[in-house]
Symmetry: C2
Subunit: 381 residues, 2 copies
């Protein structure tokens, strides 16, 4: 027997209550049994997204949500600012290119947060820019971008929307959609929502709905208007992923039970404890400016291979973390503290890293020195 610990930035652990809810006999999505679930989900997603607008749920991965945020609001030839500071920032460029949308790339060094002044300058210079696309949390680097400041730039521009990939940020950190003026807010099921992968969620502002009606990129399966029209009748355009919806109704109940403020405070505390634990063991956090509260990318110490650390965590201690992606492969490893995550998941992560590195010959700090720093944060509740 080896106990397994899932500490990767998605899929994240699913609470047993949710797994069991999903194993109930399947029901029909157009039967009266499913209507209360749709109604609860509609209402709870508005609460989670902090919006009065309908939040659209589609069967698909987070990438489906990202694609929908381009194909629904842009026409071929439209210009968007794509903030690219990691693997998911890059994806904006690829999707835009696939749909003939013209990205103005704001390249950000991996590990850094975007300089909002650069975006402000581009917007001021070019009134034809239709959207600013950004990650609230760039999962590949463990970096956050300043969504609130970006929203201030787009809020008063009638034809420019702010599109936020919050796949590893929503339900982790405060992103009040209506209050800040976020126009399109995207998340996925397998992150802070504590569900298996298979659902993407897209919140859409009134301003964005206006642009949607004029946007000419082709879309059918991911046509958000069609989904909204159905939601308003407590229905779905296409057959929804019924079991995932049922799991969703459970996990949303758990989240409401905890409350948004406590959820954000918990993630913030766990993230801080992870960073302090890592630093306490003499390691460096990859994020230079604003750290993601969902995932911490740790720089592999000089002379140690990040891939080996990641693999040893798994093979020696049953901890599934994540390695580095693309040019960060071998240079960082990533620890998630998102979703169904609490005090002893952080202790597990930090102590696991200590034990693995010590076995690999790391001598900079003794065992327990990082754990102690993490405990100092975690004890302050």
């Amino acid at each position: 027997m080896k106990k397994q610990y899932l500490l990767a930035p998605g899929p994240t652990p699913v609470p047993p209550e949710v797994l069991l809810a999903m194993s109930r006999s399947i029901i029909h999505h157009r039967s009266p049994d499913f209507i209360p679930i749709i109604q609860q989900v509609r209402s709870d997603l508005k609460w989670l997204f902090q919006t009065s607008q309908e939040v659209i749920t589609v069967a698909g991965s987070g990438t489906a949500g990202m694609e929908a945020s381009i194909s629904n609001f842009m026409s071929p030839g439209d210009k968007i600012i794509a903030i690219n500071g990691g693997k998911f920032g890059e994806r904006w460029l690829k999707i835009a290119q696939a749909f003939g949308v013209l990205p103005v790339e704001v390249k950000v060094n991996w590990g850094e947060s975007v300089d909002v002044n650069i975006v402000a300058g581009l917007l001021a210079k070019d009134p034809s820019i239709r959207g600013v696309y950004v990650q609230a949390s760039e999962t590949s680097t463990g970096v956050a971008h300043d969504v609130k400041k970006l929203a201030e730039l787009t809020k008063d521009r009638e034809n420019t929307i702010l599109v936020v990939d919050a796949i590893t940020a929503l339900g982790v950190t405060n992103l009040p959609m209506d209050a800040w003026g976020i126009d399109v807010l995207i998340t996925g099921s397998q992150k802070a929502l504590m569900l298996p992968p298979g659902l993407a969620f897209i919140g859409v502002s009134e301003k964005a709905w206006k642009l949607q009606s004029m946007a000419k990129c082709p879309r059918f399966y991911l046509d958000l208007k069609r989904e909204r029209d159905n939601l308003l009748k407590d229905s779905n355009a296409w057959t929804p992923a019924v079991t995932l919806w049922i799991g969703l109704s459970e996990s949303l109940k758990m989240m409401k039970g905890e409350g948004l403020e406590k959820i954000f405070a918990r993630h913030s505390r766990l993230a801080k404890a992870t960073r302090e634990g890592i630093k306490g063991f003499g390691l460096e956090v990859f994020a230079k400016h604003i750290s993601s509260e969902a995932v911490t990318a740790v720089v592999a110490p000089e002379g140690f291979d990040g891939e080996a650390i990641y693999k040893n965590l798994r093979n020696q201690y049953g901890i599934t973390a994540a390695g580095g992606q693309d040019h960060l492969k071998g240079k960082v490893f990533r620890l998630s503290h998102m979703g169904y995550s609490d005090v002893f998941d952080i202790i597990t992560a930090v102590s696991g890293v200590e034990m693995v590195l010590t076995r690999m010959g790391y001598k900079n700090k003794p065992l327990g020195s990082g754990v102690a720093k993490a405990q100092e944060i975690l004890i302050q509740e």
Copy 2:
């Protein structure tokens, strides 16, 4: 307590073994734990599709599979023949229009199967037609189209593919993809595969892959090439719906245990028993030429509302069947005999219909007269 019986044409009942497999702790899709599942699924889907090609699995509803079958193989301005004999036939037209593809509509009266000669005539007249799009089983009418004959028309045309929506036909009836020359074969999880909704599957022939590389419709999330390239490395392009894949690996094992021939024979027997049972009670089957083996649409007898029959089945006996769609609303109701379905599901369906109609005042035939006819078929095993 009221026991519930799900006899709708999707979602269909999920076996408890599959539900329980899906309630196991979640695993990471890029961890070594998931690789054997990908390998098994790749191999078993080839078996199920009767093809040597990779079958692509995407997180999405069946409609995502239908969209992928247009956006991956066509360019704006390309002409396709869209066989439209029901709600799902209509969907070809809508998707084509969304992508700027030009559909040549072959309109078929609801309840009838397509006249293959009409398709042959159109193909002979116009060498520029790039695809023939058809339902193997039109779920809205309970009608099958003759896929084998259609394949004979397209097989030797280098630049024309046959695209078959087999969402309620694959794993029900024999559709040997390679042997017949079907180019794109689509199904969904919540039908004969006995899974919850949330996955679509697309088999692609060598000929279709060639067209894919030239096809210019925009696609990103549903780019099948990207998925295939990843599958060949036992990986996925986007985060897969992990729990549904695990359920899939279980349900495919069950299907392999039964074997294709027995699966097809079982569906054929259950479908025939349903039709004979319905006729034995003095009712009429809606399909005029070839009946679907997955779902039987029953004509509501003169003076009885099909919606009321459907609702009474549910309210009085806990049987979730399906009503008629669009202009068939009130005129038919539909009974599924697909997937996790056996002898006594048919007895339940036929006897439930008898009891509901008798309570509604139907006097044409006595209780049990349909059941007896169904039994006569079911006893011949």
